[in-house]
């Protein structure tokens, strides 16, 4: 593990065509890393995430994705993801293949991936139309004979998460709603963690998990790198932005203009935030 710049980490660790997971369950969504993937023009990515929201809408709308593996895709508490819908309903900017699961199936697939198992087992998908539309098999309990669902483990090429902080050795600490971040890092062949700050010492905290430096390939400083999501103990969720995204993302032109202004034409997360402030002032 090394503490490197986010642009170097993305350049060295993410290739076109990779299977990439930017995970996070509402909290700690790695927006800065998603923006860097867009700036560097990654293509044909298979994107995995339980709850694709704004950052995946942006990646899809900018044509970075070939396929989406997910269980719930929307703008939480606001509405649909217009770029995701446009890709699925009209193939704009390109066709998007879907592999659709339930949350429980995705969670089991993440846990299996982290555990080095080829599949996860759950009591699920039963009698739904999902079963016919996704990668799920039935498996019989060898003791009771009970019929259960098996999902293939997630094993991305690259797992990307955002955390509150890391120490100078690259040990990562996150707390609050921890979602599937640990699993996403452990299940991936390579991993990138963006953090709010680098500290000398990771003082223990209630409800914190630590990812030791030797399971992380790159730690990158990205202050406010989760915006419009939040970092528990650092800043709140920008609920207004999620509401605003509804209008920004509705039209292709406005979406593209917004992405150019705030992502493509900004160099990093610092300039991204500066550009947002200017827009508000203007």
């Amino acid at each position: 593990m090394a503490v490197v710049s986010l642009s170097d980490a993305i350049r060295e660790l993410v290739r076109n065509g990779d299977v990439v997971a930017l995970e996070g369950f509402t909290h700690l969504i790695p927006h800065a890393a998603g923006h860097e993937l867009i700036r560097q023009g990654r293509r044909d990515l298979t994107l995995i995430r339980m709850t694709p929201d704004v950052v995946y809408d942006q990646l899809i709308g900018m044509g970075c994705a070939r396929k989406l593996v997910f269980s719930w895709g929307g703008n939480p508490g606001v509405g649909p993801l217009h770029r995701l819908r446009d890709a699925v309903e009209h193939g704009w900017p390109s066709r998007l293949e879907l592999e659709e699961h339930s949350h429980a199936g995705m969670a089991a697939a993440w846990a299996a991936g982290a555990a080095g198992l080829p599949f996860g087992v759950l009591r699920g998908y039963t009698d739904t139309d999902l079963a016919a539309r996704t990668r799920v098999a039935r498996i019989a309990c060898p003791f009771s004979g009970e019929d259960l669902a098996a999902v293939p483990a997630h094993r991305p090429d690259v797992g990307i998460v955002h955390a509150q902080r890391a120490d100078r050795q690259g040990n990562v600490q996150l707390w609050g709603i921890v979602g599937v971040q640990k699993e996403a890092v452990l299940a991936s062949a390579r991993s990138i963690v963006t953090v709010e700050e680098i500290v000398d010492e990771l003082e223990p905290r209630p409800n914190a998990i630590v990812l030791p430096s030797w399971v992380v390939d790159a730690v990158c400083l990205a202050p406010r790198g989760a915006h419009p999501s939040y970092a528990h103990g650092y800043y709140d969720r920008d609920n207004g932005f999620y509401v605003a995204w509804e209008a920004i993302s509705r039209s292709r032109d406005r979406f593209l203009a917004w992405m150019r202004r705030h992502v493509v034409e900004t160099a990093d997360v610092g300039e991204y935030h500066a550009s947002l402030r200017q827009t508000v002032l203007a």
Partner: protein
């Protein structure tokens, strides 16, 4: 007595069905409103579990998303999402699960995946999320849904979750409960009648012989409800 909205009527009616000590798996929007209202009124010991991993959350303001920080800060425990679905939901520890949907059929099966054919959808919906296993894993499923013909359909475009455990459907017109395996109108809200419900239902709706009228929200319920909405209103 002050006026109230259809949403408020739905939240109040759903909240009344939650009892002290019940463990509820809660989604965002009306379910969260209903469960939090119950905690502020007749069931302060009602336990709120959010799929983001928070167990026993006691939010002061309504969260806009199921992952808001306040849900973690006020929780008895916060667990990982894999643990939530494996140990807590699949483990059979949840009494009540709330579900919404774009479509429901007479058996309580729900569609939150797609309108139109799956491969060429007219409307691509968010997808199942927790619904398929919530519908299987909790004791009682409560559905909250606006009563419209396009939502109450004779045939689903896609079956996202199964209706076996659906005990009640609360709409803005009234209340449906399964009778002999078919959703039946058992109550209507103030100002509505069985015709209102029939007109808004895409199948030949059964109506209970002893159709009740629901109790309108009390002033106390409305005060508690509106005190909660500050943040939720943003959505």
């Amino acid at each position: 007595m002050t006026g109230y909205t259809a949403d408020e009527m739905m939240a109040v009616e759903a909240s009344r069905r939650l009892a002290e000590g019940m463990v509820c798996f809660v989604g965002i929007g009306l379910p969260s409103l209903a469960a939090n209202l119950a905690r502020r009124t007749h069931a302060p010991g009602c336990v709120l579990v959010y799929e983001s991993g928070t167990i026993g959350s006691k939010p002061v303001e309504l969260p806009l998303s199921i992952g808001d920080g306040e849900l973690a800060e006020t929780a008895d425990a916060v667990v990982s999402v894999p643990e939530m679905f494996a140990y807590w939901l699949q483990g059979g520890r949840i009494d009540v699960g709330f579900l919404g949907a774009a479509q429901i059929d007479r058996h309580g099966n729900l569609n939150s995946t797609v309108i139109g054919p799956y491969e060429q959808p007219l409307v691509r919906l968010p997808g199942g999320g927790g619904a398929p296993e919530i519908a299987l894993g909790v004791r009682d499923v409560f559905v909250m849904l606006k009563h419209r013909r396009r939502a109450f359909v004779s045939g689903l475009d896609f079956k996202t979750s199964v209706g076996d455990n659906v005990r009640v459907v609360v709409t803005d017109v009234g209340v449906l409960e399964p009778v002999d395996g078919e959703l039946t109108l058992v109550a209507v809200h103030e100002g509505a009648d069985s015709d209102t419900a029939r007109a808004a239902t895409g199948w030949e709706l059964r109506v209970s012989e002893d159709l009740r009228e629901t109790e309108p929200p009390t002033d106390a319920e409305l005060r508690a409800l509106r005190a909660l909405r500050t943040k939720g209103a943003a959505a």
